[in-house]
Symmetry: T
Subunit: 156 residues, 12 copies
């Protein structure tokens, strides 16, 4: 039976692993939502939004890998399966079908807003039990808030 | 209302778009499953399987993008959302938690086998209505069958 | 006198070489038209369309080289001279002067639509006499149809 | 005391060094103005203008380095300090705060127009005393006029 | 109606824009002619000439883009359409069909000679009205004359 | 009217945005000062200091972009205009003219010392209201203190 | 005992695996023959032919790897050993010793002609039982026929 | 006499510099131990472990450079000499001679465990006196804990 | 008749050219054997051995080119044809069909051992007549012995 | 007999070809002198001067190639042989043996000064007969004067 | 028990393995000493020496890897542990603390001198028993002597 | 006075330094001769020989740098000045003016033959006094003899 001895106490580990698992689900879904819009957006800003979304997909994929491997490093099995993501994500369900560019950007602004709100709670919760995980949440949040601004400015 | 005039007849378009949508769901799930195992595998072949799975993730992501954008090119909105993937994938549900390396490889061999079987049906179905889409299915299948062999050989 | 012994029968060679020569003329003209719009487009989407067109120019040039060298490989001299292109292209004449971005995109959508229609005929005609040339037409068509979607989506 | 023996006569050197110092101040300010708009632009063309401005920043920084080092090569100390730029620039003061994309582009079109006008005077003035410096002004002007067109076309 | 305020007087602009439009047509045709020979050359120097021509194609394409965008920067719409090139080029019509390597090189030497002669007239005409455009003609001519030598030396 | 809903309270936002704006001004000036010395330094260490300063310029430009875009991400318009920098920088005015290498290095040591002192205050002030911004200040300070050592060691 | 369950019926597998094994032997030998000539060619076209042959070697090696791994992917052990190649290749035996450039090129033209003829048979035979393998043969043939032309043109 | 004025109080500086010096010694030894095993490992996982160790060597070398230069930046001379490392390292002495792969991995797991334990103490100790140094410890620990997991998983 | 005047005496040339021809045959066969195993290996170390063998293939191909061109440089025609390799190689015949990983590695260890033994004889024989060729044998042997260790360690 | 028809009159050609041949000799010698000092410099600035000289060598070699090929492009045979350089260079003879860094820099400053003086004469002489060659002299002079400043500043 | 059958006799192996183990210890220590000085050097040549030392560190690390893996290739376990290096190195103990640049360079000149002296003995000792190892010593010595010169010239 | 303590006895040093100085002169001249022909060659093989010569120039320049720095490393001042090269080179004087391709190649074959003959004497002379320098001569000779073959084969 594979057991990793965690450097954290059981209580701290529970707090941090919940934060990491929650972040994993949000970030995997963020990548799927951004790809969905990447394929379905139409309108005069099509190419600009299409390209901008691929940068967001790249970021979200990298961040999801980081938090999943952080969970593994603490001895906690991460869960990023489709069904887990479908029920656990903090992002509202994306409507199916073609979407015009302004609505597309708004969908992403809302998705980012939801994930950022939950990330800031994770920053607050993880600082005491594990400053290493907290630092990871801080750096991911910095990037998400920057991308949040860039999509907001496009609809500004 | 955004409508793309397809170069295909309605009947042909229906056949091909179902094949593309089915392939999209399979390939998005394949990437999620491969990442899940990438994070949860343990055992003496850990590093080898961990790296091999990231190559599969890269392939599956590229292929899913190709088929989604092929659907868009035919004027059919692709759907790669988490819930759609969770219910529509042709891959069996992956068990949660750590997995030893031999079982991990077997999970991927089975997943690839399931996707390849459906891909070969799509090759057969799409040749008449749209040889362009068929050629995409053929090239994806060639890659998946090569990766299938490489995982099988590791458990051979 | 330079003669290449073709692997095709005379009748098959005639069919395939006409398809290749027609494709060459269309693709050279597509590159010239895309450059013309690249230089003359104005309006809020200027930069986006200007860059997108250079990608199309790159594709069209590569494809025209592929079909010309395929003709040479079959022992048939390709003809991509300006006068040949001016009279033989399947693309409507592009108006001179500055063009606003929406009209610019429509011009390209129409040009791509015309070339794609003729390419699909070439796919149908070449499969029996020369599956190697057919595969080249299929791959070029896949790329042109993808670009066709991207310009359409921008005017959607 | 550091003195570089200039290849130019005193009168010629005075003419050329004034032109170089003036160009330095304009170009440093152009980079600062472009960065200011890069951060403050909003609207549907946000991403396109944001990226286009970073290319202008890159050009302006390279050109300012070229003219400053040309002054040093002639034995004349260049002055690119903030206060010198603030009072000596030929560009109108940029308003503070957020700016919508059309106004943002107009600000840059005006700034480029002002710098180009002064650059053309420098080309005229420097040809006789120092064709080497003149050639530098010519090449910088060619680039600025190209960028001027690209911003104008976006507002056209 | 899109109008760019040119930094040149009307008379100067007329002179320069005719030079630029003439250069554009010559250079687009040069690229087409070089590609035509690239595909049709045969003989012991086939590979050497085939590769050398692709370098010339690359140069001619880059130069045509430079002069077209220079016209745009001066507010003059450039025209590089196939029919315009077919009737306005300064290069003699290239014969159709296969061509042996020595004749192929001679065709290119003659084409380059014709373009260079017209370019030198453009250098002479544009210096007074617009030294920026003149500098562009000078640099293009330097490259064309270097390539002219390299083809001549091969037939020397 | 463009308004970004900040994730911070008004009071926290005021504290953090002042810190960011102050850092922006310091870092833009640091880049200008380092370029000024880069052009004006003389003496046996000329080349070494000249190159070292370009690395500092690169760092300072990157850091100024980071803090300006962080302000934008929080919904606060950043101000990096020449006049704002000229009056608000924490760096002493750099003397005009040539400067020998030891004095040049001392100027940079003093400039870095001033900026670092203010950055440490920003780290202290921003931790409570916004740990994301604090982390940015910490990483910039780490880099500035490393460069501070390298210039000090050169005069040691 | 290692057994891969093939997606093909036994009869189809037999047809396809014979085609793949035959192609493997031809392509390994093609690489060896091209290297042999690469080392032994002399004459005025030495450098040109020497370099051209290394491109053919690179292609042949890549293609042989592709067909061998395709066999493995279908569960059939590929055989590319020296003795198997020596007896099974479709290419005539290359004479030993130095070879002048025209004869060298003719040797390669003949070798390519022999392999292409057999490849076209494999395309015809494999389309029904396995369109995935057929597509591989088609793409390899496209490349071999292009190289065939380039060597023929050199002796033209 | 070279003295760097530290931005820290004497007491804080003492705390932080001891933490940095301790980290330096641990990290230099970690690189030496990993290289030792890199050369001496044998067994079926040889290649995998051999390569994985070189990644650890790269990380450990980079981290040791970072902490040594952080000490220099605070005005404290770092000591990474062989004798200092031999007596001060927190890692148990590695046995000499060949080592089988499972034992090799265990040696590295233990070494990483020892260094991580001491790093977490340094994170706790340095936060108050110097958040800049603390951030460096946090980022190094994040990397070491990730590598710790990867070696553990291989023996899991 | 092509004759290269060798810098060596006839006797020396005979000794050295036999050594070079022998090395050529061994190295060509080594590359073929390593590819054969690369395609046919199965078992838990599949991926590791598969990749390691491609590095050996790359080395063997580079070394065979070096010795063949060394022979040419001495005026001796090299012979690397399949039949020559099949009968002259110092490596035992590789069995056909799938091979498990431990046996695969042993096959390569034996092949490398055989080639190394013959290479050391070539080093001894060539030092007197041609130290330039000897140096080539020494460097190839250094690489082969390093690879020999790496495969041995994997079966250790 | 190889004759290139020059675009220049005989008188103009004589003027320009003398300028080009003179520049060639100066620039070849400049590269040799810079290499000589590169190998022989000693003193505290050794590494800095050693590296700076290799940049000068690179520039001088590139410039000499440019002027030699410009002569060829005008139909005039360039002469860059050692004896021609030894007697025709405008640079004073460099003393043999080791040279301390300050004297080394002075040698280069003098050499650059001599070449620049002659280059400015060539700029003046060539403008009328051949503005293309003049532009080449102008650009080379710009680079040499920049390097002249950098060496002077090091001795300043 | 892991035993590699060495191609050398026992006596030869003893001689060569002692030389390799001695070289390993010297080269690991050389890298540690160079890094120690890299961090502790101060004075006007700080940056130049700091950078030059990192090149030496890179060389010494590469060379130590080469000799350690050469020992492994001969079946002899290499020992590069900190304690082994601390007692066995041929380099004098480096003083702790800051060091001015001239003394820093002298420390490295002495260290290189000591290692070179021992390397030349290893060249002499290893030629007879193993010319392959000798060649490695020769190439390392060539590099060390070149670096030795460069540091000496800096203090010359 | 700068003196480097050589690791060689005075007699050995004299032998080796004469060999190095002789090689330096030959190799600098070889680069000059190859450039001279590079600019002056004409005929059907112009492009092939022109490019091949630039590879030789690159090799000769690298080799001359190696031997000059080897002399410096032994404490002997190298002399690569134009006059020294003009009188000391072992290569016959190259005729001035245009040269047809066959004669051009013969000139290079003769030049390489002359240098190789002298290099083999240097290999013989330097082995006893300094195997490190000998190894450098051996590796340079290997490269020169390979290039010698390639030019001979072109005239074969």
């Amino acid at each position: 039976m594979y057991v990793v001895k965690s450097p954290l106490s059981d209580a701290d580990l529970k707090t941090v692993s919940e934060a990491l698992q929650g972040a994993l689900v949000d970030l995997v879904d963020l990548a799927l939502v951004a790809k969905q819009i990447h394929w379905n957006v139409v309108g005069p800003r099509f190419r600009s939004v299409h390209l901008q979304l691929d940068e967001l997909v790249g970021s979200a994929r990298t961040h999801s890998d980081t938090v999943a491997e952080r969970a593994s490093a603490l001895g906690v099995s991460p869960d990023g399966r489709a069904a887990t993501v479908a029920v656990g994500s903090g992002i509202d369900v994306t409507p199916e079908g073609w979407v015009d560019d302004t609505a597309a950007v708004q969908t992403i602004v809302d998705a980012l807003g939801a994930v950022i709100g939950r990330m800031r709670e994770r920053i607050a919760a993880s600082g005491e039990p594990d400053p290493v995980s907290q630092d990871i949440f801080i750096q991911i949040t910095a990037d998400l808030e920057k991308q949040h601004w860039m999509f907001q400015a496009g609809n500004g």
